[in-house]
């Protein structure tokens, strides 16, 4: 078997085994209702994780996504309730603002040549602060459009439903996969993550690609924020605090190498579902406290980083020699 595919296969295997083990204990987990809810509950996480996959593939990190989710949820809520825009117009404005924010971070990272984590840390403070200045409280959204969207779903056999936001996440994953593996932009991202110097010598436009990567990440985080506002029917400045960690975990558990240059968008999807499964299992069990989620996720994270270490140790050795 191609050794490059091993982490992805391992992720899938762990998900299937974990799901089978959980389903043996609670057969109800197999119902299409649970599957549908898994998609709906993790929609905002999954959409954001697609953007993060590109960032990590390029060897960077984006700590601002949680704050951008909070900010765009609040901005959409303010535009709809206070300004009186139609939700679709408000969404377009919100997405444009989020994308511009990401582009600005990309510019700082590229032109000032500073590590992405410190720039996006500043971005996190900025977005969270801006959200809190827009409003301190949770703004409920009661526009008829929100009601329409929540009644929009596809019935699955067995009573489950794929909601609009669940379907949107699947679509973003499909588009993300195409973007990563079938476009020049995707190839450039992999090239930069593999080795930025070689990529630049090969003629990859480093600046343009870097800026686009962070624009995409913030754009998708903005979309995640809108989905989160659809999910909760509200905009709250402190929404999604710490979600950047969940998103990074999902990407890493999905088999993407944190050093960049290797990974699959599909893997991230499995990573998100695996995290969702842990939460669902804890809810089904009922006696375990929710803090076990953190320990299990932390353990999985460790396991995957360790595995990457051994799978790639041969390549890494060759690279340093």
């Amino acid at each position: 078997m191609n050794r490059a595919l091993r982490p992805l296969v391992a992720t899938c295997l762990i998900f299937v085994l974990a799901y089978a083990a959980a389903a043996l204990q609670y057969p109800a987990l197999l119902s299409s209702r649970v599957l549908g809810d898994l998609l709906t509950d993790n929609a905002f996480l999954g959409i954001t994780a697609v953007g993060m996959t590109f960032v990590i593939l390029s060897g960077g990190i984006d700590l601002s996504v949680g704050a951008v989710i909070g900010f765009s949820g609040v901005l959409a809520a303010v535009l709809i309730t206070s300004v009186g825009l139609h939700p679709l117009v408000a969404f377009a404005v919100t997405l444009a603002v989020a994308a511009a924010f990401g582009a600005a971070m990309g510019c700082v990272i590229h032109y000032l040549q500073v590590p992405s984590f410190i720039v996006t840390l500043a971005g996190m403070f900025l977005a969270r602060g801006a959200a809190s200045i827009l409003t301190q409280d949770s703004i409920p959204i009661s526009h008829p459009f929100y009601h329409d969207v929540s009644t929009l779903f596809l019935k699955l056999p067995g009573g489950g439903r794929i909601t609009a936001i669940g379907a949107l996440m699947l679509m973003v994953f499909a588009l993300g996969t195409l973007l990563a593996h079938r476009t020049r932009f995707g190839a450039n991202v992999y090239a930069i993550g593999g080795n930025a110097t070689s990529a630049s010598l090969m003629g990859v436009p480093i600046g343009q690609t870097t800026i686009l990567i962070y624009t995409l990440s913030s754009f998708l985080a903005g979309l995640g924020g809108i989905v989160f506002s659809l999910y909760t029917s509200a905009g709250y400045p402190l929404a999604a605090v710490g979600v950047e960690l969940d998103v990074i975990c999902a990407v890493v558990i999905g088999g993407t190498l944190l050093a960049g240059g290797y990974g699959f968008v599909v893997g991230t999807f499995i990573g998100v579902m695996l995290q969702g499964l842990v939460q669902v299992y804890i809810i089904f069990d009922g006696t375990l406290s929710s803090w076990w989620t953190k320990i299990v996720i932390g353990f999985l994270l460790f396991l995957f980083i360790l595995m990457q270490r051994f799978v790639f140790s041969a390549t890494a050795l060759r690279r340093t020699e």
Binding site: V114, F117, L121, G123, G129, P237, W291, K294, I295
Partner: protein, 334 residues
Amino acid sequence: MTTLSRIVSRLRPALSVQLGALVLVLLGNWVLFPGFFDLSVQDGRLFGSLIDVANRGAPVAILAIGMTLVIATRGVDLSVGAVMAVSGAIAATLVEAGYPAGVAVPLALVAGVACGAWNGFLISVLEMQPIVATLVLMVAGRGVAQLITNGSIVTFDDPWLTFLGNGTVLGLPMAPILLVLLALATILLVRRTALGLFIEAVGVNPSAARFAGLRSKLVVMIVYSFAGFCAGLAGLLVAADIQGADANNAGLWLELDAILAVVIGGTSLMGGRFSVVLSIIGAMIIQATNTGILVSGLPPEFNLIVKAAVILAILVLQSPLAAGLLRQRPGSRP
């Protein structure tokens, strides 16, 4: 003597920038709140806004001491906030279970060192990137802390443990005293022994340091263990301050403040030269700004925007772009 004067002359321009910034922020506070520099003695302890800044800034400053050494080795420790929660949880739970503070406090510190050593093991032996290795504990650490406290906030009224947070010696609160003691011990350790040189060597070029016969792995291990110790101590102070261990919120996002303090202190994220004193001043600048924003009546969230602006300003100043512009100035050396 010549080396000492060289060190002083090397530090002085940098020192003046950060000290100047701190004085500026403090003066700003004084303009907003004329009683800012007032000190008074009540019930045998000093009171005043300055003491308050030192007291509240101490946990971040203690974290920043450990973080400075970590960043000097070209690493970063994201787990310190979670380690604070773990050490606070251990101390509170042990004291509540009837153990004396003399047992609980050392054990909590040992737990901090153990967490740091785990990070060091992942980074030096398994050769993981620091940001990834410490992310594991950042995620799992809070879960472990909640496991220890059983998901609730454990409160305690042990007089000795409480003394750490609220006690005074010679009228001064404990937290700044511990900070000064730790800072002095650290500076002696890194400047009076070769350890500081080793840390800088590992940060500048790990391969070169190894070829020069330096045991880089041991240095990295020691540095992360020390950062864990600092986080353990900071966790004790925070828990003692509120007489309770809150696994969810103790030390939340403080790792970011600690990194910010080190960056304000002028230590480069690319490793190498570092200054413990400047990082502590950086932590105090952050706390003084916090206090200023609270005093001025602006919403506390405004603080986040100020922090972001400060980070950006420093990044611009440190960037190669700015260095190039400065070099092109007429009259300066090429």
